[in-house]
């Protein structure tokens, strides 16, 4: 009797110490799930989700404060990936958070730019080049199409242009044949 009590107590002590040590030794700063969520977000930093960028949105999702359907650039596939990662139920994209749009790039109309540098300050990825009273230009390879440069422009000289598709960026379409009713019913 006594031996078994001692043995159990001894084991409990050993494991307790082990766990305590592991907690200190393998302590993780921050919430690793936030990083995993952030990887799935499109990093446009557009703020359409209502948060000040992708990282804050990822933190909000991780904390359970935000729904996973507030990211229009990520689209349905992004939402599905988040649902998959977090084990949540997929939810249709939030209507107020706009519908999925084709990817666009900002273009500054050179004749109209007055060189106010306001868009430079708004761009989250430093994709606009310019200086005070000098014409600004968008570095297209860096632009994420977040549209954050549109509101501050006092002369509305920035237009969003859809990316032109060519044979190198073309994708095969999803086969659009009709599935028979049985399949559709089975899926619903």
């Amino acid at each position: 009797m006594l031996i078994s009590i001692l043995a159990i107590t001894g084991l409990a002590t050993i494991f307790g110490l082990l766990l305590g040590y592991a907690n200190v030794r393998f302590h993780v700063e921050g919430d690793p799930i936030t990083d995993q969520i952030e990887v799935l977000l499109p990093q446009t930093q557009c703020g359409q989700c209502g948060f000040a960028g992708c990282r804050p949105y990822a933190e909000a999702i991780a904390a359970g404060e935000a729904e996973i359907n507030k990211c229009p650039p990520g689209g349905e596939s992004g939402m599905l990936a988040l649902a998959d990662l977090l084990g949540r139920d997929p939810v249709p994209l939030d209507a107020e958070h706009a519908e999925e749009k084709p990817k666009v790039l900002a273009l500054i109309v050179e004749e109209e730019c007055i060189g106010c540098t306001l868009c430079l300050q708004a761009c989250p990825v430093d994709a606009i080049l310019g200086a005070a009273k000098q014409m600004h230009v968008v570095i297209t390879s860096e632009c994420t199409g977040c549209e954050l440069c549109l509101p501050p422009c006092p002369v509305d000289c920035i237009v969003m242009q859809p990316i032109k598709q060519d044979s190198t960026t073309w994708r095969w379409p999803f086969p659009d044949h009709k599935h028979p009713d049985v399949v559709v019913k089975a899926r619903v």
Binding site: S77, S167, P175
Partner: protein, 561 residues
């Protein structure tokens, strides 16, 4: 030359998994001998006829070009130049319809031939290729703009630099797809070119053996090649059983050697390199004659073509022009396909140019290619898996591709799919499986690209945040410094020790001033050299002062004046 020892070698052959015996329909286009196309009024040369970076134009509108002159190139490692197929004038550089499943346009150089066929100065022929180094041969092949002419259009020079020792060179003359006969006629018409090319490649790669694989439904090609073999050639012409898709690179290697190219690997890992016969012939021309790749043989066939044939044509001729030269359409055309019936793609228009990879124009009638009918549900019969030459599970990949679950589809080795179309062909539910796999593949690439872009954007955003933070910290530090400096000055008077010291100094100064004053009072100044009247005046003044002490200040004021 007939060499008994080179013929009828019984070589052990293997069989790849699956595959299909298809009606080959090859006789149709073999009824007529090889024709040569006449020059059209316009040649349209796409700048992107190969895998890799598109070429940049080296000519301008209005320039005169000579036959074989390089008109576009790119310095990227995986790229290929484009040459003028005939002499003439560049009339336009613009976007034109290109042979691509998307039906999109691409940048093209348009040449108006002058009919003189005047050659540009070609590089020196390398007739003694045995003593040429591999680098020289490779750069010649690259400069000649040679790409895989079986349809993949991968730049050959890149493929010839495998970075691994190569034991076996395989020349692919299988031409397994139904209807297509351009390689068959090439081997029959230019056997010495194919063999020369094989010898050059063998020398270049240092391969000990060279196997030219031809399906046994092309006996004429096999015997022609064998007749042209020489005694000291380490080349063997291997007749392989007809089975679609034996012309697939990995499948052909399996047939000839019994080895499997590992998943997502390439043949060089097994010490093998595989080249198409047309590519090999083009390499022979480039090395032995200095001629770039400016023409190719195209099969025109199908019930929709009046006189099916093979035709040797300059690149850049439009499909419509070429078909007109084969007596035009029959009026039964339901579909125009570039490539074969299994792997080709539909063309929306026949106004597209013939490019380096275009091996066949197939105009099929409704009877030849009936609509597969409505797609039904997958019944999990497993026939697709039975015929898959890559030993994949098409039905599994189909479920995941349909659910847009690309990662799961990739787990089933989506990228090992060669899109041969066997699975779609046998599917009793008429499911367009290959379309799903093509969709899943391009979508996966696009997703990967998006992921890279997102990573890049994230980095830039983080840099920006770090920069803003740093600037803010610097600004704050500056402000603090300024504030500190301002505070210091007024604080100096009030603070303890400093004020005591100052007080003492002031007192000392006051004492000094007082002592000075006292001294001045006691000892009258400027009293030397005075006249008697002045001295009398002073005495009088002193008297007045002592008499009226309150008036002193007034008189002293007057005295000073």
């Amino acid at each position: 030359m007939y060499i008994e020892s080179k013929k009828n070698n019984s070589r052990q052959l293997w069989r790849f998994h699956g595959g299909l015996h298809l009606p080959d329909n090859k006789q149709r286009s073999l009824q007529q001998p090889l024709k040569t196309a006449s020059l059209p009024d316009r040649l349209v040369l796409p700048l992107h006829q190969h895998i890799g970076e598109p070429a940049d134009p080296l000519v301008q509108v209005g320039d005169s070009v000579l036959k074989g002159q390089k008109i576009a190139d790119n310095s990227a490692p995986v790229s290929s130049p484009v040459h003028a197929p005939t002499s003439g004038r560049v009339v336009e550089i613009s976007s034109q319809p290109i042979p691509h499943p998307s039906g999109l346009q691409g940048p093209c150089i348009i040449i108006e031939p002058d009919g003189k066929e005047q050659w540009a100065e070609l590089p020196e022929p390398i007739t003694d290729y045995h003593s040429a180094t591999a680098d020289i041969l490779r750069s010649r092949i690259r400069e000649a703009g040679i790409v895989g002419m079986g349809g993949a259009t991968f730049p050959s020079a890149v493929k010839l630099n495998p970075g691994k020792p190569i034991k076996t060179l395989i020349i692919n003359g299988a031409e397994c797809e139904p209807y297509i006969t351009c390689d068959d006629l090439l081997m029959q018409s230019y056997p010495e070119r194919v063999l020369d090319g094989a010898r050059i490649l063998q020398k270049l790669l240092g391969a000990v053996e060279c196997l030219i694989a031809v399906e046994d439904n092309k006996p004429a090609a096999i015997s022609t090649l064998q007749d042209h073999l020489e005694e000291d050639d380490a080349i063997e012409v291997v007749s392989i059983p007809t089975l679609y898709p034996s012309g697939g690179e990995k499948q052909l290697i399996r047939i000839l050697t019994g080895l499997e190219v590992p998943s997502s690997g390439y043949p060089a890992l097994l010490g093998m390199v595989c080249h198409n016969v047309a590519t090999t012939a083009a390499i022979a021309e480039a090395v032995l004659e200095g001629k770039p790749l400016i023409s190719r043989i195209v099969t025109l066939t199908g019930e929709g073509i009046a006189k099916p044939c093979n035709i040797e044509t300059p690149l850049g001729i439009t499909a419509s022009n070429l078909i007109a030269q084969a007596a035009g359409y029959t009026g039964k055309v339901s579909q125009l396909i570039l490539g074969g019936p299994m792997m080709g793609f539909d063309l929306a228009t026949d106004e597209i140019p013939i490019t380096k990879g275009a091996n066949c124009l197939l105009a099929v009638s409704e009877a030849e290619a009936p609509s597969p009918g409505n797609t039904l549900a997958c019944i999990r019969c497993g026939r697709c898996a039975e015929v898959c030459p890559a030993s994949l599970l098409p039905q599994q990949m189909y479920w995941h591709s349909r659910a847009k679950d690309l990662e799961k589809a990739q787990d089933y080795k989506l990228f090992d799919c060669i899109e041969c179309g066997c699975c779609s062909h046998v599917c009793p539910s008429h499911i367009p499986l290959v379309q799903y796999f093509r969709y899943a593949k391009t979508e996966s690439w696009a997703k990967e690209q998006e992921r890279r872009e997102a990573e890049h954007a994230k980095q830039r955003h983080e840099f920006r945040l770090a920069r803003l933070e740093r600037l803010e910290a610097e600004r704050k530090a500056r402000l603090r410094k300024k504030k500190g400096a301002l505070k210091k000055k007024p604080a100096a008077g009030k603070s303890g020790d400093a004020s005591d010291g100052k007080k003492a100094a002031i007192e000392a100064a006051m004492l000094r001033a007082a002592a000075k004053k006292a001294q001045q009072k006691d000892q009258p100044k400027n009293t030397e050299n005075l006249t008697s009247t002045q001295q009398a005046q002073i005495v009088a003044a002193e008297k007045r002062r002592t008499a009226q002490p309150e008036a002193v200040s007034n008189t002293t004021g007057a005295e000073k004046e």
